[in-house]
């Protein structure tokens, strides 16, 4: 393989991975904007989405285009349930209490996933069962392209939702200033509920687009969570445009460092980038220091 075709190969797989990370990071950002907490169960949402998709497609034989929306809706329900049962009952919610609850929630969901789907990895058939595209020795799977399209569509839809719809604007208002939003007659509690549902649904999409051709196991949640977390921070917590840029950056950086530097130390190298950004520009590549100063977390 020539260097150029290697670069093409790495670019595509890096972008596909980055797409997954973007979705996880956007989910993290939505909850962060609504509540000021980091949701540690975000990776588990992705794992659940992936497993539900696997069950629907592989065990029940439901075609993927039908199973996909069902999975996303199911996860939205789980997200809402998580908020209603674990976050909403808090009498005096403080940031740290809520964060610990999401930690407990992630452990709990991991246990549930292990109970339902077992300890062994499960696989999902590729969505498009066609021979891969060959381009200058580089092999690009159709699924990779599909992932990129889905991620682009989801990001576009989110943009439309936050910019054009009343609910989306209300959510942005809550992120900006909770008290002011409350005074303007926005039901903040419902916005938080919606944030959890939306963010779980995004997690589901992330899990689903990650799985075809690969496999999923119950302990994968922290991996998704960590990557999403890294992307969200590098992009500037709560900053969605930053998350998209950082996701592409991290996805590419990860595959290129694994390919050209060292596959063994891929994890450490990728996370070293996070520390570097935190040390040099802690508000993220697009974050503003003034905004960061107002946040609790």
């Amino acid at each position: 393989m020539s260097l150029l075709s290697q670069i093409i190969q790495f670019t595509f797989s890096g972008l596909a991975n980055g797409g997954t990370y973007i979705l996880v990071a956007l989910g993290l950002n939505i909850i962060y904007n609504a509540t000021g907490i980091i949701n540690f169960a975000q990776g588990e949402f992705a794992v659940f989405g992936s497993f539900i998709m696997i069950t629907l497609c592989m065990a029940w034989g439901i075609p993927a285009p039908v199973a996909f929306p069902i999975t996303v809706l199911a996860l939205a329900g789980i997200g809402a349930l998580f908020h209603r049962t674990a976050i909403a009952p808090l009498k005096k919610p403080s940031v740290i209490t809520m964060v610990i609850i999401t930690i407990g929630g992630s452990i709990f969901m991991r246990g549930v996933a292990m109970l339902i789907w077992g300890k062994y990895p499960q696989r999902l058939d590729p969505f498009i069962d066609a021979p891969p595209i060959r381009f200058m020795d580089a092999i690009i799977k159709w699924d990779t392209l599909l992932v990129l399209v889905i991620v682009a569509l989801v990001v576009a839809a989110l943009y439309w939702f936050f910019e054009k719809t009343v609910t989306g604007k209300a959510m942005r208002a809550c992120a900006e200033n909770r008290e002011a939003a409350l005074l303007m007659g926005i039901n903040v509690d419902r916005i938080v509920l919606l944030s959890f549902a939306l963010s779980a649904a995004l997690g589901a999409v992330a899990g689903v687009v990650y799985t075809p051709g690969a496999s999923m196991e119950y302990g994968r949640g922290p991996y998704f969570g960590l990557r999403g977390f890294e992307v969200a921070i590098i992009g500037g917590l709560g900053n969605s445009v930053g998350a998209v840029l950082a996701g592409i950056l991290i996805g590419l950086f990860e595959t290129f460092s694994a390919g050209f530097l060292s596959p063994t130390y891929k994890e450490a190298i990728t996370l070293a980038l996070l520390l570097l950004v935190l040390f040099v520009k802690p508000s993220g590549i697009l974050g503003k220091a003034e905004v960061a100063r107002l946040k609790d977390f």
Binding site: A86, T97, I101, G104, I107, F108, G111, A268, P282, F297
Partner: protein, 358 residues
């Protein structure tokens, strides 16, 4: 303000004395491990509970302590105390380097940096096989000896005592820090960092000091662990363990040393307890279950096997339930519960008296 309170120490020493004399060796072994975690969480309590700085990477310091001492004593024949000094020094130095850029800032940048750092340490331990043994870990660390006696002998009964005396000393130390000027400075940082700064507290210096102290304590616990077990594996640096350390402080009620101690012991014994209550065999089940479910023995065996995996799930559930119903921690929480209970009982009695009179 509040003065030195000797009562909990008295209770602790009576409890330890009782366990030392009558405790089963297995219980003592579990409690020895719990004691090591206590040393970590006492430091974490100062950092998270009092100064309000969350770290999600303390398992990494614990592992750095254990691995440094193990590698030095096994490979290079360094004496134990040398291993100890290097372990604690390295851990403190690393904490210092991470702390300088992140603790300058307000907000939870430390949490983010330590999260990344913790996973880096884990993956380094996991992948640099020739140095750390990778996933198979390092074994054969020499046992801790004190005054010429091997503490790990006789099932480690003296190790149990040694670890818990250490815990008591650290509790004393932490209590003194809290009651003194630095302690008040830490609490002022937690309350309002700008105000603390304005009042002349060098907030970033205090945050850095307490972070380095807690990292050193975690490394010391790691040192104690590796020379007790003789073995240390990559799982000692796992993200999950770091997270559990934070959970222990939170369940203990954040700025509450004794609460943290109780929560640590409870949460470290919990997985073992859950595992044990689930060790039911198919034959032990009453007949009506066999008959009513219409399942064969092997099917029931499989079912039970499934439920034995519940421990992870229950662990998560307990953390959630604690945070919802006792956000003030097990110590204050239980006390509050009894108080409300007593008030209710009194109210009911009062009503009865009124209705008797009329």
């Amino acid at each position: 303000m509040d003065r030195f309170d000797w009562k909990p120490f008295a209770v602790l020493s009576v409890l330890l004395g009782y366990l030392f004399v009558f405790g089963k060796l297995y219980t003592l072994m579990l409690l020895t491990r719990a004691g090591m975690y206590c040393i970590v969480t006492i430091g974490m309590c100062l950092l998270v509970g009092y100064a309000g700085q969350v770290s999600i990477g303390h398992a990494a310091f614990y592992a750095i302590g254990g691995y440094t001492s193990a590698i030095l004593t096994i490979r290079y024949g360094v004496p134990l105390w040398g291993g100890l000094v290097c372990a604690v020094a390295l851990s403190c130095a690393v904490a210092f380097l991470i702390g300088i850029p992140t603790l300058r800032l307000r907000g939870h940048y430390l949490a983010m940096a330590t999260l990344g750092f913790g996973v880096i340490v884990y993956s380094l331990i996991h992948s640099s096989i020739e140095f750390t043994g990778g996933s198979s870990g390092i074994s054969g660390a020499p046992p801790l000896t004190l005054f010429g006696t091997n503490l790990a002998e006789d099932g480690g009964i003296f190790y149990f005592l040694f670890v818990w005396i250490n815990v008591a000393v650290f509790m004393l130390l932490a209590g003194n820090i809290i009651r003194s000027r630095p302690g008040r400075a830490l609490m002022s940082i937690h309350g309002n960092e700008e105000a603390a700064n304005a009042a002349g507290v060098n907030t970033s210096a205090f945050k850095l000091k307490v972070f380095v102290l807690s990292a050193g304590m975690a490394a010391y616990a790691g040192f104690l662990y590796v020379h007790y077990d003789g073995f240390i594996g990559a799982n000692s640096a796992e993200l999950m363990l770091s997270v559990i350390f934070v959970a222990m402080v939170a369940v203990g009620g954040m700025a509450n040393l004794w609460g943290t101690l109780c929560a640590t012991v409870l949460l470290s014994l919990l997985p073992e307890f859950l595992r044990r209550t689930q060790k039911v065999k198919a034959a032990d089940l009453p007949d009506f279950i066999h008959n009513s479910l219409g399942l064969s023995d092997t099917q029931i065996f499989k079912l039970i096997q499934k439920f034995q995996e519940l421990d992870v799930l229950i662990y998560g559930l307990i953390i959630i339930v604690f945070m919802i119903f006792m956000p003030q921690g097990i110590f204050t929480g239980t006390a509050d519960m009894f108080r409300t209970l007593a008030r209710r009982v009194r109210a009911v009695r009062g009503k009865r008296r009124v209705s008797d009179a009329s």
